[in-house]
């Protein structure tokens, strides 16, 4: 049995690149629509909440509300981009388009495919998150250099949420089930994890829950960088995010093996 699982793990450190490049080629053909689609939602949130609520809220921790919100929206858009790319696009490649089936006939393994898909979803998360950061910097809510520093955090956020969504994909019988993950996990996280208001506003029990959620660690990494503030507990945040990226990755491979290779 153990031998069976070993055979489906990533075969080496570079096989996944072929899968990433396949997705990149497909994306290039529809890039403009894809980028606009990924940007519209977080932009609406940033300006709608930022300017609208910003008037009522005033300053948070000494910065304007919209500047506070910018870091949260960068993390949120990275989360959303990676989640949706994995749930809908990767699911389609696994099922309707039979792309995975074709790849499994080559010398790539299931693990290579999953890793390539995660890397691709993380790439899209970097595009989406960085675009929001660029808008924020253009409007003067963040320093330009801070974008560069926040990219690694955005990328790991993308990996985390692609990895989590991959577990959902490996279990979901059809598209209809994704809405549960979206409404019961992803959306509540936006509000629990300090993306739109400080975690300290919540009752302490909720704060403890937030401390366990991956988006909170992303926000705590990205926001201070964008605001030019000192960040605390970087090691803890990175460690937690790595766990959230790696464990679901292996879990999803094991689940896909049961699903696709029986």
């Amino acid at each position: 049995m153990r031998e069976g699982y070993a055979a489906v793990m990533p075969a080496n450190a570079y096989n996944w690149v072929a899968v990433w490049r396949r997705n990149f080629l497909a994306w290039r053909k529809v890039a403009l629509a894809s980028v606009l689609g990924n940007l519209a939602d977080p932009m609406t949130n940033l300006f709608g909440l930022g300017f609208g609520l910003g008037i009522i809220v005033g300053l948070i921790d000494g910065t304007s509300y919209i500047a506070f919100l910018a870091g949260g929206m960068v993390a949120t858009s990275a989360m959303t981009a990676a989640t949706f790319e994995t749930m809908y696009a990767a699911f389609a490649r696994m099922r309707a388009q039979r792309t995975w089936e074709a790849i499994l006939c080559t010398q790539l393994t299931l693990g290579d495919i999953v890793l390539g898909e995660l890397a691709w979803a993380a790439t899209k998360a970097v595009l989406a998150g960085t675009a929001i950061a660029v808008v924020a910097a253009t409007l003067g809510y963040a320093a330009w250099a801070s974008i560069l520093y926040s990219i690694p955090a955005i990328a790991i956020t993308g990996f985390v949420f692609a990895s989590l969504a991959m577990v959902v994909v490996s279990l979901a019988p059809s598209y209809d089930y994704f809405v549960f993950y979206q409404t019961l996990v992803v959306t509540p996280m936006v509000f629990l994890c300090g993306a739109v208001f400080p975690v300290s506003q919540m009752p302490s029990a909720f704060q403890r829950v937030a401390g366990l959620l991956p988006l909170a660690h992303s926000v705590d990494l990205i926001r201070p960088v964008m605001l030019g503030l000192p960040a605390g507990g970087i090691g803890l945040h990175i460690g937690a995010l790595c766990m959230y990226a790696v464990l679901p990755f292996f879990l999803s491979i094991a689940l896909f093996r049961r699903r696709l290779m029986r």
């Binding site: 069976g4 072929a18 080629l25 053909k29 388009q97 074709a102 080559t106 393994t109 290779m261």
Partner: protein, 304 residues
């Protein structure tokens, strides 16, 4: 490389209570075309997937191109080309892009792929379609592209799951011709099919399957001679039971399947004499084929 391309020993696979592959053993020699023949649900596709390491057997031993499968199936797959039952080409990509992307899955560089693309396009007769989107191709062209794609890594072994199902006769003959060319070049082919004609035309040897069990194995001609060994008269119309008692003395064997009566007759003339003058009968005399073998062995026709 060893001269045995595929070796299965006592392979068994079941899903719940349903036994899909039941103690199957066979060996495919390098350079031969080996057919897995049987009706839908006989376990052909499961066996093809097992050979590729995509399905692990419950018990039994498998070796493919010298590698134990499924444990080291990846290394075997590096030297295998696969034509799946259902096309899984990239519809939004061009023909050339499909080959490029697939070549990368075998760690081929763009230059290496470019070097073999013209030859593959010529082989698939798709030279004029290199930059056409796959979605615009006909069913036969897609099938030929799938075949070309399967050759991108210059495989020793081709695994083909129902390669011509759903094609019109013209497209099917073109594929058969291409496959014979590959055999002439020394490739080994494992072919699953429920087309008797396909199996007869292409396969050096074949294994007839029913419900996951091997019911016969051998060269197509030898199987036909051994199991039937005479002419066949198909009789349509009339009451099969009445007719069968009439001609039984002159027949080696009689099968009734649906409305058709199959009469295996060493001396067909004598049977025809008996039936002469009967109204409403349609008769067809022909040499025996694998369809008859299957009917003989299982007592029923292949489902189409």
């Amino acid at each position: 490389m060893s001269t045995v391309a595929i070796d299965l020993t006592c392979v068994r696979k079941s899903y719940g209570d349903k036994i899909v592959v039941n103690g199957l053993s066979f060996a495919v020699a390098s350079g031969e075309c080996f057919g897995l023949l049987g009706p839908n649900g006989a376990g052909k596709s499961t066996i093809a997937r097992m050979v590729l390491g995509m399905v692990a057997p419950d018990t039994g031993k498998m070796t493919v191109l010298g590698e134990p499968v499924p444990a080291r199936a990846r290394l075997a797959r590096a030297r295998i080309g696969v034509v799946p039952q259902f096309d899984n080409l990239e519809l939004e990509f061009t023909v050339r892009e499909n080959l490029l992307v697939f070549g990368r899955y075998f760690n081929m560089s763009a230059r290496e792929v470019e070097a073999v693309v013209p030859e593959l396009l010529e082989f698939a007769r798709l030279e004029s379609k290199a930059d056409a989107r796959v979605a615009e191709l006909s069913g036969g062209m897609k099938r030929r592209l799938t075949l070309a794609r399967a050759l991108i890594n210059d495989p020793h072994l081709l695994v083909m799951d129902e390669p011509t199902t759903g094609l019109d006769p013209h497209a099917r003959h073109l594929i058969w011709e291409r496959l014979r060319l590959l055999l002439a070049r020394g490739k080994t082919i494992l072919l699953t099919t429920h087309f008797m004609e396909e199996a007869e035309r292409l396969c050096d040897r074949l294994c007839v399957l029913e419900a996951g069990r091997k019911i016969a194995e051998g060269e197509p001609r030898a199987l036909i001679d051994e199991q039937i060994g005479c002419q066949v008269i198909e009789i349509y119309g009339g009451n099969p039971h009445e007719l069968s008692s009439l001609i039984r003395p002159y027949a080696r064997h009689i099968e009734v399947s649906g409305e058709t009566l199959f009469c295996y007759a060493p001396d067909p003339e004598q049977v025809l004499v008996q039936l002469r003058g009967r109204a409403g009968l349609r008769l067809l005399q022909r040499p025996a084929n694998l369809e008859d073998v299957f009917l003989r062995l299982t007592g029923r026709e292949m489902e189409r």
